[in-house]
């Protein structure tokens, strides 16, 4: 992507992924040509608002989308395996084994009628076999790893008996139980209180480093991204519009949408002056505007933005942006 020579193949390569939801009334263009790579041990944050396609990208990668109504095109290669052509057995081995996912709402992601311990034991035995006692010992080890106080007792708790923070830790323990190479985290701290959110973020960052997992972390929160990301990919209307190292993106955003997001983030904003909000709202994914999807809200759009979908340009090492104005500034042919 950035042309540099990679010593090893990336853990995950997604090429030109498109996801459409087809119903009788309309076709929803949820993901429109996403390409990204994640190396082992790297945290990529996908930053975007609701409807930007960030969660759909993760679900496509896990093949969790309803087969009958979804059209997926492109290529997803995980650890050398082609995810989109996997059969049921291959998927079962991949999910939870090679890749795990943690969700925003642990209450709905965990099964309410089994204790959290039972759920981890089941996962461990599914992927690694072994006796119940061995699996339970592993579960206890994991609860200690994610710093759940009195872990022995908590293993026998039902999800509703745990606080929000502990439930999220239990879900992380379950996700890590089989040593995944890739962790997918879909807004895992969004539903948590501020003082708990930072605890879980710090925990995830530490575990990710220790275990050397590649991680895709989906969030709408710039603050969260700045705490955990190595790289950020900004999504808008199903496309990655900007990508680069976290510090570079935060210090010097190139895409007008990223710039707008940062300007409209209420952080140390001068009281008594209006916030520089992005006007309008995200486009309807059933009827995407022609050309650049951000054009209707963009204050610096060019005439050409109406007809041309911007192609990636590379303003600096490891930086990518899809914007005709940025391309023009680089002197590239739009």
């Amino acid at each position: 992507m950035d042309g540099s020579i990679m010593p090893t193949r990336p853990l995950l390569e997604i090429e030109d992924l498109t996801v459409r939801f087809v119903t009788r009334e309309a076709t929803v263009h949820a993901v429109n040509g996403v390409s990204l790579q994640v190396k082992a041990g790297e945290v990529l944050c996908i930053l975007g608002e609701s409807g930007s396609g960030k969660s759909v990208t993760l679900r496509a990668l896990m093949r969790l989308l309803p087969a009958g109504r979804t059209r997926i095109d492109g290529r997803i290669s995980l650890d050398g395996r082609d995810v989109l052509s996997m059969d049921r057995k291959g998927l079962q081995a991949m999910r939870g084994g090679l890749v795990s996912m943690i969700f925003q709402e642990p209450m709905t992601a965990l099964d309410p009628v089994y204790t959290v311990g039972e759920q981890i034991v089941e996962t461990v035995r599914q992927h690694r076999g072994g006796s119940k006692a061995e699996a339970r010992a592993r579960a206890l080890e994991l609860f200690e790893l994610v710093k759940i106080p009195s872990p022995e007792r908590r293993l026998d708790a039902y999800p509703h008996e745990l606080s929000g923070g502990l439930r999220q830790r239990a879900m992380i323990a379950m996700a890590l139980s089989c040593g995944p190479r890739l962790l997918l985290a879909d807004e895992p701290t969004t539903a948590l209180d501020a003082t708990v959110q930072i605890q879980v973020l710090i925990l995830l960052r530490r575990l990710q480093t220790e275990m050397g997992m590649g991680t895709i972390f989906v969030t709408h929160d710039l603050g969260v991204a700045s705490e955990i990301a190595d790289r950020i990919a900004v999504m808008y209307a199903g496309r990655i519009v900007e990508e680069g190292p976290v510090a570079d993106i935060l210090a010097n955003p190139k895409h007008p949408y990223t710039q707008g997001l940062m300007a409209s983030t209420v952080h140390g904003q001068d009281r008594g002056t209006d916030i520089a909000a992005i006007p309008g709202s995200p486009p309807d994914l059933r009827r995407l505007p022609s050309g650049c999807s951000f054009r209707p809200r963009c204050s610096v759009s060019l005439a050409a933005c109406r007809d041309t979908v911007p192609q990636p340009v590379f303003p600096a090492a490891n930086r990518m942006v899809r914007c005709l104005r940025a391309a023009a500034e680089l002197g590239e042919v739009a």
Binding site: P149, D193, Q197, S226, L250, I275
Partner: protein, 354 residues
Amino acid sequence: MQTQTFPDDDLDPRDRGGQAQPLLIVEGLRKFFRVKTQDGKAAAVKAVDDISFTVFKGETLGVVGESGCGKSTLARLLMHLIQPDNGTLIFDGEAVDSPDGITIDTLRRQVQMVFQDSYSSLNPRMPVRDSVAFGPLVHGKKQAEARAVAKDMLMKVGLNPELFGPRYPHELSGGQKQRVNIARALAISPRMVILDEAVSALDKSVEAQVLNLLRQLKRSFNLTYLFISHDLNVVQYISDRVLVMYLGRVVELGPVEEIFSRPKHPYTRALLGSRSSMDPARRLEEPPITGDPPSPIDPPSGCRFRTRCRYVETVCEAVMPELGAWRDRESHVTACHMQDPGSGHSLADVVGRA
């Protein structure tokens, strides 16, 4: 009529107690919910426990706290949507729900509320202009007048009444629905609006638009806001004064600059310390406090925060700290034994004088 604006210096004709009279005085407000624990024992959720504060005319009072701290219960108590167990409300000098004061209906005509979930707070079977017109209609306006108010209000919140008025809630985006809710709240010309996490469900770019709108409406309608949020950045931006809640109690109250630059309570400091610096070079390495807030069912004795506080001493368990002079507009008060030189906390002298 409904839409007259009030330049800064003019007196609002609805004003009864004068500029110095706080718009709302809340004293000793309490609400416990009776519940049964898993083993069948009776217990109480101490959702709001002896809360006192004032809201001054024309200000925005921000209320922050984590889930379960009682901030939404507080909002509902102020509207009398739930009955308090105890406590008094004084609205512009007149006691609420008292023989020589004003009735709850009169209060509700002057205080309106906007909720977090913009969809479930609108009637799905009613075009939004009818939802906005409903309030004025109920409060005695004629059909045509109410419609005119609705049209005007939709315009004021930035929605074209011709285009959006006939639509149903499901045909609007989250930001547009929240604008309708704001229009509905303002349609009966309230003096105070309670915003309960009103921007929390919105995307960041839309949140900024709605915050700008709220600030602008506050000026043109001479409003007073009670702004409830878990988002400290938003509260810092919009509030004049801030009230910090923890497990049903007020732990700190004061002007916004004071709270954010010189927080006194260990909980407030932890809340502020949990915010991201937005700088990847200065990431937080240690969480300011560990654990989750305890359950509000049978909360800790004494200081509610003592189970998570690093400065905890025996006095914190035995004695519940008091907030102090909460009536003054300028005072920055906190319920913490360390700030009270006579409390017996070993750090009280050091911290209290500093």
